[in-house]
């Protein structure tokens, strides 16, 4: 009594995927080691990275809002740029627009010259205001010294040198007024941990099937390569979301990280990143022959993701070549998105460039993996 029902029915396909998903969870339940890693990696890393690393920062992108239309503003701006700490990439007519740009992560700070600049120079009052994205402590600490820049440096005319220390600019630190590193580290950690676990788990999960000979069994059953892949990655998407929730919850309760953005925005951005990471994992799984190789290749992606994505060092402070590499990595884009959403309350429509990059990355990754997977069976 052989059953020659069509193999291509969607409902049957869904059931086969379901079979893989449940099997994967049953195996995970048994695999204490992996199960422990799901929970322990976020916790341990979170506690370890609670302390930040500081480096000298240069070339921070800022915007200038000149409401004074005074030649002095031009001169002051040039003096500030001459310190090389900042780089003016935008000009806005109003402080509100500059704030929006900070929220969306387009610039890290804005220098605002008030309409009464000329009067302020005469009256020896603060000349302008810095609006600073305080969520990245390294950026804000680099900008803070500019506050008390002596005017003698700005105006060559000694008549203007008052010879006394005084505040040249007022500074408004947004989002992280107390400049605590954890605020910036915790959302970044989501990106790092997801890179590590998502790529590692998917790549080893499929390689393990091959290594233990299970693939030999699977390929004689009606399951198709694509069904197998979908079934294998679905459980890890769930795991990724659990890890993210765990990190944010811990960050919120232990490190008082403010969660300004909407939760559904956070989950959506995270899903995009998980998808991109899983597609890397799948590609690795079609290349690696053993779980050890899969792990080595994961480290190859993981290291630049930690060092270059903006998690450790501000993206803007890195040399051009490093930035170019970083732009390719999904972690860089996710880092921008998750910080913008969690710390500055940005929303996905304001972060479309990064979102599209992650989507494109996922599509390309899946296509490469599916094309390569066929070959590995032969």
């Amino acid at each position: 009594m052989s059953k020659l029902a069509p193999v291509f029915k969607l409902s049957q396909s869904v059931k086969r995927i379901q079979a893989i998903v449940f099997k994967e969870f049953r195996q995970l339940k048994r695999d204490r080691m992996t199960f422990g890693m799901v929970v322990m990696i976020p916790i341990i890393q979170l506690l370890l990275f609670g302390y930040a690393i500081n480096t000298e920062v240069r070339g921070i992108p800022i915007a200038v809002v000149d409401m004074s239309h005074n030649a002095a503003a031009r001169v002051i701006e040039q003096a500030v740029v001459a310190t090389q700490v900042v780089e003016v990439i935008e000009r806005y007519p109003t402080p509100q627009e500059a704030e929006k740009a900070i929220v969306n992560g387009e610039v890290r700070a804005a220098l605002v010259f008030p309409p009464d600049l000329a009067k302020r120079i005469v009256e020896e009052r603060a000349l302008g205001q810095w609006l600073v994205d305080g969520s990245d402590t390294m950026v804000s600490s680099a900008l803070l010294p500019l506050r008390s820049m002596p005017l003698s440096q700005i105006f060559i005319d000694p008549a203007l040198d008052y010879g006394k220390s005084h505040t040249t600019f007022e500074v408004a630190l947004f989002f992280n007024p107390t400049r605590r590193a954890a605020v910036n580290i915790v959302p970044g950690l989501i990106g790092t941990i997801l890179t590590m676990t998502m790529i590692l788990f998917t790549s080893t999960a499929i390689v393990r099937e091959r290594e233990r000979g299970n693939l030999e069994l699977l390929i004689t059953t009606p399951i198709r390569p694509l069904e197998l892949m979908i079934g294998k990655i679905l459980p890890y998407i769930v795991i990724g979301l659990i890890q993210m929730t765990l990190i944010l919850a811990l960050g919120y309760s232990v490190f008082d990280v403010p969660i300004i953005g909407a939760l559904h925005q956070i989950y959506m951005a995270t899903l995009l990143f998980i998808a991109a990471s899983l597609s890397i994992g799948l590609v690795i799984s079609t290349i690696a022959k053993t779980q050890l190789q899969a792990m080595q290749m994961t480290v190859f992606i993981l290291l630049p993701s930690i060092l270059l994505s903006g998690f450790m060092f501000p993206f803007e402070a890195m040399p051009g070549a490093a930035q170019a590499i970083a732009e390719v990595l999904p972690a860089t884009h996710f880092m921008r998105m998750i910080r913008a959403i969690v710390l500055r309350g940005a929303e996905l429509p304001g972060l479309l460039n990064d979102a599209f990059w992650l989507m494109g990355f996922t599509v390309v990754g899946l296509m490469v993996a599916a094309a390569r997977f066929k070959k590995t069976v032969d």
Binding site: A5, K15, A19, R212, L217, T220
Partner: protein
């Protein structure tokens, strides 16, 4: 409806410069147990993988259960079962978990799935082991589970790739009883092996070497031409006997088995017993004609001529 389960013409598979399977013509009848006998690397596994649709042939045509491979591979998967050489079920799932997982992959409806799982559990003596992890089973138990998994969806054709390589003779006998049961129920079975005793049980046998078909017939008929050509010699000075016999061009091979030397003579020697006695007349020895075994057939048809080293 054809009475052939498998038919191949000029089946060939190359891996780079190596030709693993070389123009194989097979005709395997339905409802029989058909054996592939050959040493490791003779192309048994490669052939089976091609017949399952897992490997694309470099050349030649394959017809399995009336379907053309590799085109119809997907449809065929529901009708064939494949037991891999290495245990390929999930060691970290229970016996029941493995069977359930496979039933789902084959899309067996719930009721059928439950009934089949109960049936194979009792049939293959796995009832009491159902909750045990597959990885903790003994060699014989693993093999029974693998067979149960391969027949869960009631395939018409079953491929077994060296199924008993990790199993003791007792378990091997039980295993073969199960195979004959399946065969009686109408399942066609193709089994590869390098065990002579296992090969002897097959209805028909193909002897493969270096990807080529060397001989193909019922085991009994394969033995026939060797009748009267095997002499067993018992002597004190086995070394001298062996070295002296191996020099003779009439001697195809000689192999020591315990205290005896098994001598296979080339065809054309009139009286084998007399021939051997004459050449060893000056030695203390005793010799007798014995029945041929499949090992002798194997030595005869493959190129391993005059290799006295075969154990």
């Amino acid at each position: 409806m054809s009475v052939l389960a498998i038919q191949t013409r000029g089946l060939t598979r190359r891996f780079g410069a190596l030709t693993a399977v070389d123009h194989l013509d097979l005709q395997i009848e339905k409802g029989t147990i058909y054996g592939f006998l050959g040493p490791n690397g003779c192309g048994k596994s490669t052939t089976i993988r091609m017949l399952c649709g897992l490997l694309t042939p470099s050349e030649g045509t394959i017809d399995v259960l009336g379907q053309t491979l590799p085109q119809d591979a997907e449809a065929l998967r529901l009708r064939i079962g494949y037991m891999t050489q290495k245990f390929s079920l999930y060691e970290d799932l229970s016996v029941l978990g493995n069977l359930r997982f496979l039933a789902q992959l084959y899309n067996l409806p719930g009721a059928v799935s439950r009934q089949r799982i109960t049936q194979v559990l009792s049939e293959y003596g796995l009832d009491k082991l159902r909750a045990q992890l597959a990885g903790s089973l003994s060699g014989g138990q693993k093999q029974r589970l693998a067979l149960a998994a391969a027949v869960l969806h009631e395939p018409d054709l079953l491929f077994l790739d060296e199924p008993t390589s990790a199993v003791d003779p007792e378990n091997r006998r039980h295993f073969w009883e199960k195979l004959f049961d399946l065969c009686d129920q109408g399942t066609s079975i193709l089994v590869s092996t390098h065990y002579m005793d296992e090969a002897e049980r097959c209805h028909r046998l193909a002897i493969l070497e270096a990807g080529k078909l060397c001989a193909e017939d019922e085991p009994k008929k394969l033995l026939q031409p060797l009748t009267g050509r095997i002499v067993e010699v018992e002597a004190d000075d086995m070394r001298t006997v062996k070295s002296r016999l191996q020099k003779l061009e009439q001697v195809r091979s000689s192999a020591q088995q315990g205290i005896r030397l098994r001598v296979l003579l080339n065809p054309g020697v009139q009286d084998s017993l007399e021939f051997v006695k004459n050449h060893l007349s000056d030695l203390q020895m005793h010799c007798q004609l014995v029945n041929p075994s499949l090992e002798d057939v194997f030595v005869q048809v493959t190129r391993g001529a005059r290799s006295g080293g075969r154990q």
